[in-house]
């Protein structure tokens, strides 16, 4: 099953809509709560990053018997130093975005902690592509 969504830069009101739709579908498919939680955290953080840092993005979610694969692709400023961006606490979020409670620099680390496979490709000045894979029925403690 393949699902497609889109998200615009600055549109915080819609951020989370794709995660919410995917959550209901996974529930209907009787996927366990732990897996749903990991998918929802990963997808939400990726969605919000497009809203907070990029111009326009597309989301593709592929669900099969083995895993949930998500591709979040945006056009935007890109990430010049991915290793630095992955560090907890690193953020370039604007003052406005921080005021809303985003910009703790915890989004990418949250994705990393909750997924089984994360691949980030980014071209500065062009955009960013996140590939996230979460295996089904794999109990993975997300608490540290």
């Amino acid at each position: 099953m393949t699902l497609n969504y889109s998200i615009s830069g600055g549109d915080f009101a819609s951020a989370g809509n794709a995660s919410s739709a995917v959550k209901s579908i996974l529930k209907q498919l009787n996927i366990d709560n732990g897996t749903i939680k990991r998918v929802v955290i990963s997808l939400y953080e990726a969605e919000v990053n497009v809203a907070a840092h990029a111009d326009n993005g597309t989301i593709t979610v592929d669900i099969d018997n083995v895993s949930v694969k998500m591709v979040i692709c945006d056009s935007g400023p890109g990430i010049p130093d991915i290793e630095l961006a992955m560090k907890e606490g690193f953020s370039t979020a604007s003052a406005e975005v921080r005021e809303m409670g985003f910009g703790a620099g915890m989004g990418l680390p949250n994705i990393k902690r909750n997924c089984d496979l994360l691949n980030i490709k980014s071209i500065p000045g062009e955009g960013t592509e996140l590939n996230i894979e979460i295996l089904l029925n794999q109990a993975k403690p997300t608490e540290r």
């Binding site: 009101a13 951020a15 953080e45 809303m100």
Partner: protein
């Protein structure tokens, strides 16, 4: 403890009427950083925060947090209330700050008051 009982004991303002009041609160989480709540709150937690915008409803719904307490007397917008009702999240409020609210909820959940 149900949201209904907790709302009464803690004398919280309810903005969403009977929405979700039968749901059970098993713990709590205090934070104003959304990614922190996303990553670290536990299903069943009541979320205490000073944030008051649409995204907090989305997060509560996605993470199965049955209720949010907005502290410092900040009132949620009509749009937030509507979304909370749709998502079956109890939206609550208090004039108290986060520290006092957390202490009070802790005591109630642990049978100390």
């Amino acid at each position: 403890m149900t949201i209904a009982e907790l709302t009464k004991k803690a004398e919280l303002t309810s903005y969403t009427g009977t929405t979700g009041i039968k749901k059970v609160v098993t713990g709590g989480y205090i934070s104003d950083l959304l990614s922190d709540v996303m990553g670290r709150a536990t299903q069943g937690d009541i979320w205490i925060t000073m944030q008051s915008h649409l995204n907090i409803i989305a997060i509560a719904s996605l993470r199965d947090l049955p209720a949010i307490i907005i502290v410092n007397g900040t009132k949620p917008s009509e749009e937030m209330i509507e979304k909370a009702i749709n998502e079956e999240i109890a939206l609550l409020g208090t004039e108290k700050g986060a520290f006092e609210t957390g202490g009070m909820i802790w005591n109630i959940l642990n049978g100390n008051s």
